[in-house]
Amino acid sequence: MLRFLGKRLLQLIPTMLIISLLIFFVLDLMPGDPVQAYLGVGSEVSPERQDQIREQLGLNDPLPLQYVYWLGRVLRGDLGRTNIYNAEVSDVIFGFIWNSFLLNIFALIFALLIAIPVGIKSAVKKYGLFDNFFTVFSLAGVSMPTFFFALILIFLFARNIDWIPLNGMRTSILAVRGYDNLWHNITDVGRHMLLPVTVLTMTSLATLTRYTRNSVIEVINQDYIRTARSKGLTEKVVIYKHAFRNALLPLITILGMWVPALFGGAILLETVFLWPGIGRVLLNGITSQDLSLVMATLVFYAVLRVAGNLLADISYGLADPRVRVK
């Protein structure tokens, strides 16, 4: 097993290298003058000074060389400096990912809490009213653009209820002034989380209910369940003791894949809700042409994705030993 793990980890290295290369070269195509970005927009500087800065930033070096320097810096943890936030990029990233994480983790928990019982009930009473309803629900959930759903939700809540805020993570005045106590802090953020988490939960629900349902159906059709039933066990025991455990297994596999994704922001949602997460950081970076920020964020997303794939492979390897023999 360890050998399998080691092999997969080794394969990661060329993958990440190639992806980082790709990112670097794509970003080179992005419009925007790094010198201007460095100095800040609108500053007036003499051409000589501009050339000086160009040299200083290493922009006159050949592209492959720039890549190597950049890679070296990244590996050392120096992700550069961003201008729109006026801070070190690494600070920005690691600061904001927790906001994204907050949304994602709650959405995932709620989605699981709902999806598992719904999935089981749908599977047990296949094609019944309950099942059909959730089938339609899943279909709608998967077909609807999430940001549109978010907009509609905001629109509906805009006039009605005062204590459900429509965007942002905190009430601005309170954020500046400071909170009275921790509880106040938590409730403020909590209220702001209501809408975005709802949308995120619904989206995840659509796929999770379907997945659980199919997984349970597959287990129920197995012969050993029939055996359990013919032994005279009640349906409840059959389902919860036998079927449930085995149906959970593929679910856990999928969840393993999702763990790294928890740190990535849902870019579209964060934009709609003006939520200060890493997704919005990326978008801001792109629109402001802040190259170092964009590069670092992209690499971050790539790492998350690769980690997710690796975890998926590992969980498949754990579940099915034949895979490891390769």
């Binding site: 934009t271 978008l283 964020t297």
Partner: protein, 326 residues
């Protein structure tokens, strides 16, 4: 003449030859929901083609002395700019003249909705086409030739699959900002297509690998059938079902992606309308709060279209390969 006789009762002459395609078609027809999906998809396509033409036709006031042929030609060449920029007429709610009202530039929303529909759906179709081409090519070659080629190609697919979807698409689109508005849809098609193919290539490769070992493929080898014939006449038709399903479902995904990208400002850019960038107008709070007729209809259209496409795709999948679990 052989001594062994044919069992007449099993195969009376009136039994008609029924190929697997025909069988699948019959199965599809039985699935009412899938048929609904298919029909509504066709209706949407027709609407998106015809409605802008109706507008173009109505706008033609001076019919005197113009031949029918020219009338038809003018109708088909829908001129995007023919509507709007009558600022006096801007921001009007739905009325008899403008069925869905006008937007901030005075343009008729209904017209833009359906003209934009053309764009969004074309993006969907073309991306699906690109994805299918790339995926089939890579998967097919990998599966058929095996060995080193297979290894290299699959590693390549793995790397592409490790690239974070939306972030990368955003950056590439941003890098291509210099593209004029009416060609931005091609950028979206390109970007969605080149990142979506690994999934299909894996499926195609798997299918070809399992087919290759089937005895009828060995038979073609013994019969001396050429390589090209084997691939085109024997392997491909058996993989086609998967390709069709994947293309259909992929179209839905592409439409959603285009919507998301355009919403962020990184997909199809105005003045060329698309469902995504019409929703983008909602980012302006005035529009969002006061002129919902501008941004809600495109969202609904996306939903209907993607639902139809998904129903159609799932129906096709069930028709080609019926399984217990739906």
């Amino acid at each position: 003449m052989s001594e062994a006789k044919v069992d007449e009762t099993v195969n009376a002459p009136r039994l008609k030859p029924e190929g697997p395609w025909k069988i699948a078609w019959k199965r599809f027809k039985k699935n009412k929901i899938a048929v609904v999906g298919g029909v509504s998809f066709i209706l949407i396509v027709l609407a998106v083609i015809i409605v802008p033409m109706i507008y173009s036709f109505n706008l033609w006031r001076d019919v005197e002395g113009v031949s029918t042929g020219q009338l038809i030609r003018e109708t088909i060449n829908v001129d995007l700019r023919a509507h709007g920029f009558e600022l006096a007429n801007s921001e009007q709610p739905p009325s008899r003249e403008n069925l869905l009202g006008t937007d901030r530039q005075g343009r008729d929303v209904m017209f833009r909705l359906f003209y934009g529909g053309r764009i969004s759906m074309m993006v969907g179709v073309l991306s699906a086409f690109l994805t299918v081409t790339l995926g089939t090519l890579v998967g097919g070659v990998a599966g058929y030739y095996g060995g080193k080629i297979d290894g290299v190609l699959m590693r390549f697919a793995e790397i592409v699959q490790s690239i974070p979807f939306l972030p990368m698409m955003m950056v590439i689109s941003a890098a291509m900002r210099w593209v004029p508005s009416d060609q931005t849809m091609l950028v979206v098609v390109f970007v969605v297509g080149i990142l979506s193919w690994p999934g299909l290539s894996r499926v195609v490769r798997g299918q070809i690998l399992s087919l290759r070992e089937q005895e009828f493929m060995q038979a073609t080898e013994i019969l001396g059938i050429s390589d090209t014939s084997r691939i085109v006449r024997h392997l491909l038709p058996n993989v086609l079902a998967y390709i069709i399903v994947s293309a259909t479902l992929g179209m839905g995904g592409a439409i959603l992606l285009e919507a998301g990208l355009s919403f962020l400002g990184l997909g199809v850019t105005p003045p060329m309308p698309s469902w995504g960038n019409m929703i983008q107008t909602a980012r302006n709070s005035t529009v969002f709060q006061n002129y919902p007729w501008i941004w809600v209809p495109p969202g609904m259209m996306i939903m209907f279209t993607v639902i139809s496409v998904n129903l159609l795709g799932e129906g096709l999948r069930d028709a080609f390969d019926p399984k217990e679990i739906r």
